[in-house]
């Protein structure tokens, strides 16, 4: 029965693609569209994952395949006022602003004034021929997935965020990208695609948040590619705060060159069904990679985090910390694989996953995997599941602090080592507040 459904959904998306192409006119011969065409060809033979796939065994994507989502290009454009957009932005610091509605760029809501010359901070559909030339060596190099969701993304991508920092440039102000999704007229599929390239010795901080335009059913299917050149420093903050009926499938591919430092934050608050994939390739020596993850879920939210770190070369360090707080009937998953190849001597790889369950019906699955082929390495992993610390709870109560606030403080304390490394102070404060808000409203 499932197969039957999959075939239906496939022919549906193929038809959607025909409609999309028919609207393209002059653009149908563009370089970008040739990529889409390759993708839709792949899509024809690609399979949607099922519970039988080892990497998807905890997440049933059927609800996504059983919904007749309309690709955003075929949906009427939603009018969004700038004060509506501002409400969803993180404030208290300066930033370059890109706002997308259903995955399509909204120039009026965005602000890219003051971007230094040579630096590219643009939306994908606005790239010039020379921009494409700069990017050709990265496009198709980072994301090579043939997972049906990922090729579907590429086939229907019309827009997304492109950031190219040239060698030796430090972009002082962070870039904040806001993806607002949801439509009153259709169950929309947004397929944004982000590409970040940081040249040698460059530095950039990027905040990407996914939020609902309305509390309706929609599907964000996103792919992000990040390339860190030699000695580059990238801080990438992904904040998933989709609507409670939304589906969110996200894949981030990170490739790092020598001595680069990438800190990736994956903070999951919203969504009904969420899958966060992060793949990291440490493709040279003396690289540092930090993956910080936080997943807060309540009601019947399902949040699946998958990470894969490929230590391909010697002398690199990876440090991974994922924490989950699950309430009501929520389900959380952490699956983290670290591969240390034969050449990758002197690897330091640390992984830790901790979850707390606030209700008896909440569940969590943890699957840490270490695969080590080098002999001179330091690797460790650990996964724990528990409840809030009752001694600490009593301690806080014994100072006259009420029970709900005491629990919020404990949750805040639990999340601390994921939030503390955030370098943008104002963002850190707002996220702290968001953590408290997210669960505080519930009587747990």
């Amino acid at each position: 029965m499932n197969t039957q459904k999959n075939i239906d959904i496939k022919s549906k998306y193929l038809k959607d693609f025909e409609l999309f192409e028919s609207k393209l006119n002059g653009q149908s011969k563009s370089y970008f569209h040739s990529l889409r065409k390759t993708a839709i060809e792949k899509f024809k033979t690609a399979e949607f994952p099922t519970l039988k796939d080892e990497e998807w065994k905890y997440t049933n994507v059927k609800p996504i395949l059983q919904t007749d989502f309309t690709p955003a290009v075929n949906v009427e454009i939603e009018k969004v006022k700038s004060d509506e957009a501002s409400k969803h932005l993180y404030g208290g610091f300066d930033f370059y602003k890109l706002v997308f509605v259903n995955g399509i760029f909204e120039e009026k809501l965005s602000d890219l004034n003051g971007i230094p010359e040579q630096v590219v901070v643009k939306n994908l559909s606005n790239l010039s021929n020379s921009d494409w030339e700069k990017l050709k060596s990265y496009i198709e190099k980072i994301d090579e997935s043939d997972n049906a969701f990922n090729v579907l993304n590429k086939a229907f991508t019309v827009d997304g965020t492109v950031i190219v920092i040239p060698d030796n440039v430090i972009l002082e102000k962070p870039v904040q990208v806001l993806y607002l999704t949801g439509s009153k007229t259709a169950e929309v599929l947004a397929s944004p695609r982000n590409l970040i390239v940081a040249g040698k010795n460059s530095q950039v901080k990027i905040i990407v948040s996914y939020q609902p335009l309305a509390n309706v059913k929609y599907f964000t299917n996103v792919v992000t590619e990040i390339f860190a050149g030699e000695n580059a420093i990238i801080d990438f903050y992904k904040i998933q705060n989709e609507g409670e009926k939304a589906f969110h499938i996200d894949k981030i591919d990170i490739v790092q060159k020598g001595k680069s430092v990438v800190s990736n934050f994956s903070l999951s608050f919203g969504g009904a069904l969420v899958r966060n994939d992060i793949n990291v390739l440490l493709d040279d020596e003396y690289i540092e990679n930090h993956l910080y993850g936080l997943y807060l879920a309540t009601d019947s939210q399902h949040v699946d985090n998958h990470t894969f770190i490929d230590h391909a070369k010697p002398n690199c360090e990876s440090n991974e910390l994922y924490k989950g707080i699950l309430d009501e009937k929520a389900r959380g998953i952490f699956s983290g694989k670290i591969l240390v190849r034969k050449d990758a001597q002197k690897t330091n790889a640390f992984q830790s996953n901790k979850s707390v369950l606030l209700s008896d019906s909440a569940t969590v699955d943890a699957k840490p995997q270490l695969e080590i082929y080098a002999d001179d390495v330091k690797c460790s992993h650990g996964a724990t599941v528990g409840q809030l610390d009752m001694t600490a709870y009593f301690y806080i109560l014994s100072r006259g602090i009420p029970a709900d606030l005491a629990k919020s403080m404990l949750i805040r304390a639990f999340a601390n080592d994921v939030i503390e490394p955030i370098k943008i102070e104002a963002l850190k404060e707002q996220l702290n507040h968001q953590i408290l808000q997210h669960l505080h409203s519930k009587d747990f």
């Binding site: 806080i396 014994s398 100072r399 602090i401 403080m409 404990l410 304390a413 080592d417 503390e420 702290n432």
Partner: protein, 254 residues
Amino acid sequence: MITIKNLHAKVEGKEILKGINLQVNAGEIHAIMGPNGSGKSTLANVLAGHEGYEVTEGEVIFEGKDLIDMPPEDRAREGLFLAFQYPVEIPGITNTVFLQTAINEIRKYRGLPELSAKEFLDLMREKAKVLNIDSSLISRSVNVGFSGGEKKKNEIFQLLMLDPKLAILDETDSGLDIDALKIVAKGINVFHNDNNAVIVVTHYQRLLDYIVPDFVHVLYNGKIIKSGDKNLALQLEKEGYDQLIKESTELESA
């Protein structure tokens, strides 16, 4: 201040307190001593309302109110304070935020207006001075990265800030070097006046050189087996608990 009558309490099904009777009046300092496992910390935790302990019999009246069914946060708001033997670390919550929240919750309960930011900061500076606490310590997360001594000092700092009616100090002296012990004792003496009371739970007489108790009680096997004045502590220091325990068990079996 507090009247404890025939208090029995269990933890994980095991009876630890087997009939405690104690009366503490305003202006008094009581020391509760006893060997390990006698029930000293249990008594302190039961009085503060730890839910891991089940009171099976007896009553505790604090300032005219029955404590037994009162949640721990209300006991604190009524004016009871427990300095923990093992203070808890709370990453991400600064001492300032923690204390400001606590003080204002207590004031709200008592129908008092919240302290202004300035009033609060002034109070904090004044109390920190008593204990020689560095201001950088106050802006840090509660007890995180504190040494054992700093944690104990921080408990006394909280005591001074919250200014309760009854302070119960659970082995606040354990693990302190002599300099830290003197500072902690100074804090307790600054706190203590005719309108409040202190119960010092301790294993050793050492702290009592600096905080002079009006009464000393010896707890053994869940009961107070002897009460006396400060000289009892000195006697225990010299002779140990063995003789007392022997006398009390002989008395019981007789």
